[in-house]
């Protein structure tokens, strides 16, 4: 009796264990005869939170046509992405901050390629009671507000750029991101470019030593802070400003034109910038009349020599799809499109990626 029961249980257990095998068999037999058998590949990526919504949508769409390639992407910060690529714990990273020379040298798997995935813009947003329809801030004024040298909204220098607008007698409260962020990096990069004082006193980075202001954690917290503090000014990603209908300041670009933040303005900045062969380039304050001055790339990070041929080949194919077909998804999600000329150069770059000495993309 007892042994019978045990046999019965063992039978069930074996059956359950065998199920996945049967499943696999069925899947493999689905592939039409003559086509080569594709082993399913799982790719792991991590890094920039900014690119997360876009990448995730791209991954979903890509998977529909390529069920054998599974991509898992974690948005845990550009810094983490760089670190994990460098330690070779993930297959690719994504970052809004280009890797420094020292970081490139420290990477354990050889040469790291940095391939632009998308573009974003940083919008300056504010909360002024009875707000004017348009607030114009020229570069030096913007820098001096964030430096704390301009302290009141009715300052003469702000008034000069906004004729016909009466701004209240109110203290300016600067709000900034307190968590390390690519958004902060792009803004501080811009301010370093246009203001020698900012450059020497503060500099650029994902976290900086802010001369004035209060910090909020994440886009949600900073926009909440701004919304709840009359007289405040801060910055968020353009997508976030648009989705939440935040008022945005009009800025002056390098050509002296007044421009509101836009996806086209960010793409124009990429078109007008001279992009070096390694693609590590800052596009803030770029020339061109349509250019929005506070824009930046998000790069994918991957090794030029891939250790695992199957993985490497899947990764290169996915990224190639992402910079071509994948770009059609950008604007709906409020990301700027990569300029076509750049995409051609990026494809050429992807073609230099090899595994066991052979190129992975033909």
């Amino acid at each position: 009796m007892f042994t019978k029961k045990r046999q019965f249980l063992t039978g069930i257990l074996l059956g359950v264990l065998a199920l996945p095998l049967v499943g696999c068999g069925a899947q493999n037999s689905n592939i039409p005869v003559g086509q080569e058998k594709i082993e399913p590949v799982t790719l792991t990526g991590a890094g920039s939170t900014f690119v997360y919504p876009l990448l995730n949508q791209q991954i979903e769409a890509y998977r529909k046509n390529n069920p054998s390639i599974v991509v898992n992407y974690q948005g845990n910060g550009s810094g983490t992405g760089i670190k994990q690529v460098s330690e070779q714990t993930i297959d690719f990273g994504a970052t809004e901050v280009p890797m420094s020379d020292e970081q490139l040298k420290a990477a354990k798997g050889g040469t790291v390629l940095q391939i632009p995935l998308t573009l974003g813009a940083v919008a300056v947003t504010y909360n002024i009671p009875d707000a004017p329809k348009e607030l114009k801030l020229e570069p030096e004024v913007l820098a001096d507000i964030f430096l704390g040298t301009i302290t009141d909204w009715n300052d003469q220098r702000i008034a000069t750029d906004n004729p016909g607008v009466t701004l209240p007698d109110l203290k300016i409260a600067v709000a900034h991101r307190s968590d390390g962020s690519g958004t902060t990096y792009i803004l501080s990069d811009y301010l370093s470019r246009i203001s020698p004082v900012w450059f020497s006193k503060v500099g650029k980075g994902t976290s900086v030593n802010w001369p004035v202001g209060i910090g909020g954690k994440g886009n949600a917290s900073i926009s909440g802070t701004i919304q709840q503090t009359p007289g405040s000014i801060g910055y968020v990603e353009l997508a976030y400003a648009v989705q939440n209908k935040l008022p945005v300041a009009t800025l002056q670009n390098k050509e002296g034109k007044w421009v509101a933040p836009s996806l086209q303005g960010a793409s124009a900045a990429a078109v007008a910038s001279k992009i070096s062969t390694d693609m590590r380039v800052s596009i803030v304050n770029a020339p061109g009349v349509d250019t929005y001055p506070i824009s930046g790339f998000t790069w994918a990070l991957l090794y030029q020599d891939q250790r695992d041929k199957a993985k490497g080949s899947a990764l290169v194919k996915f990224l190639n799809w992402s910079i071509h077909e994948g770009q059609t998804m950008s604007e709906g999600l409020l990301y700027a499109k990569l300029p076509p000329d750049l995409v051609i150069r990026e494809e050429a770059m992807l073609k230099t990626i090899t595994s066991e000495g052979q190129p992975l993309l033909k």
Partner: protein, 320 residues
């Protein structure tokens, strides 16, 4: 006869063997806690080495935190952490004790169960929800009503000077007070409930009023437990991250005004750890965590000593 003796001997043997095993097992568990503490501590010291080597003691007294120029000083964070935690304690300890006294000694059982449930509910709210409440309700209220009011009446004290922004040490302290209130209230309540009824009856029999009864019979009996509850609350306040970072203003400055934005140790680690790429920056963040570890340890030792000294004193109540 002989056989039964044998049996009992055998029993004794197995029992003592079982006891021994059990003793060893529990000892092992107790030691594992100690080992874990030492291991964490050592790991942190090891990871903080670059920063310790570069800054030495100036790290603790330095007032500049500049990730771009890689200049790191922890004093503003230590200051912000201590000020907000003690502010929370000053507010939450009397209120928590009051809640406990009311629930235990005054309230009818219906009221007790409702309010008791609500107080415990406070502990169940996630800290990010407290943070959002802080941004959208507490901070504007502080900026528009409380801070101008305090400045008007107590503006001569440096604590209440400066521009009211809402996002401040005061906001951090208040939100922590709300968060540690249930800890203090429920522990105090349980300790008071454990006071034998004879104590109360004796006091009342001697003609004490209700308040006198609580003062001479209940509180002295429960004081070491209440102190323990307060210290547990302090521990929670020191380490709280999310709610604090959302309202404190995240500014590494040391200003005397409670209206000024500040920063706490836990908040800066949560904010900057994911984006810290250089070794020195990372190790500085670990070192600041090590400082928090140290502060918690010192305060806990201090709390132990306090509880001991209270316990060694007169037990209180009618008996003493």
């Amino acid at each position: 006869m002989e056989e039964s003796e044998n049996m009992s001997n055998k029993k004794k043997l197995t029992a003592s063997l079982g006891d021994k095993t059990f003793r060893l097992l529990t000892l092992l568990m107790a030691m594992s806690v100690l080992a874990l503490m030492v291991w964490i501590g050592w790991q942190m010291v090891d990871s903080a080495r670059p920063s310790i080597a570069k800054f030495g003691f100036t790290f603790v007294i330095g007032r500049v935190w500049d990730p771009v120029k890689e200049q790191f000083g922890a004093l503003p964070f230590i200051y912000g952490t201590l000020v907000t935690s003690f502010l929370a304690l000053i507010i939450a300890a009397p209120v928590g004790l009051g809640v406990a006294i009311f629930l235990n000694e005054m309230a009818t059982s219906k009221v007790r169960s409702v309010i008791g449930f609500l107080v415990e509910m406070l502990a169940a709210i996630p800290s990010v929800v407290y943070g959002l409440w802080g941004i959208f309700i507490l901070a504007p209220w502080l900026r528009e009503t409380v801070e101008p009011g305090l400045a008007k009446w107590f503006g001569f004290i440096p604590l209440f000077q400066g521009t009211p922004l809402g996002f401040s040490m005061l906001a951090g302290g208040l939100i922590l007070a709300v968060m540690i209130l249930p800890t203090i209230a429920s522990i105090s309540r349980e300790v008071m409930a454990a006071v034998p009824n004879e104590q109360r009856e004796a006091a009342l029999a001697l003609g004490a009023t209700k308040w006198e009864m609580i003062r001479i019979a209940v509180l002295p009996y429960a004081k070491s437990g209440i102190l323990g509850g307060v210290m547990l609350g302090l521990g929670r306040a020191l380490g709280e991250t999310m709610a604090v970072t959302m309202v404190i203003g995240n500014r590494p400055d040391i200003l005397s005004s409670l209206f000024a934005p500040a920063y706490s140790i836990a908040a800066v680690i949560a904010n900057e750890f994911t984006e810290a790429t250089s070794d020195l920056y990372l190790s500085a963040l670990v070192e600041i965590g090590l400082i928090l570890f140290g502060i918690t340890l010192i305060l806990n030792v201090f709390a132990r000593l306090l509880v001991w000294s209270v316990e060694r004193g007169p037990k209180g109540g009618i008996s003493s």
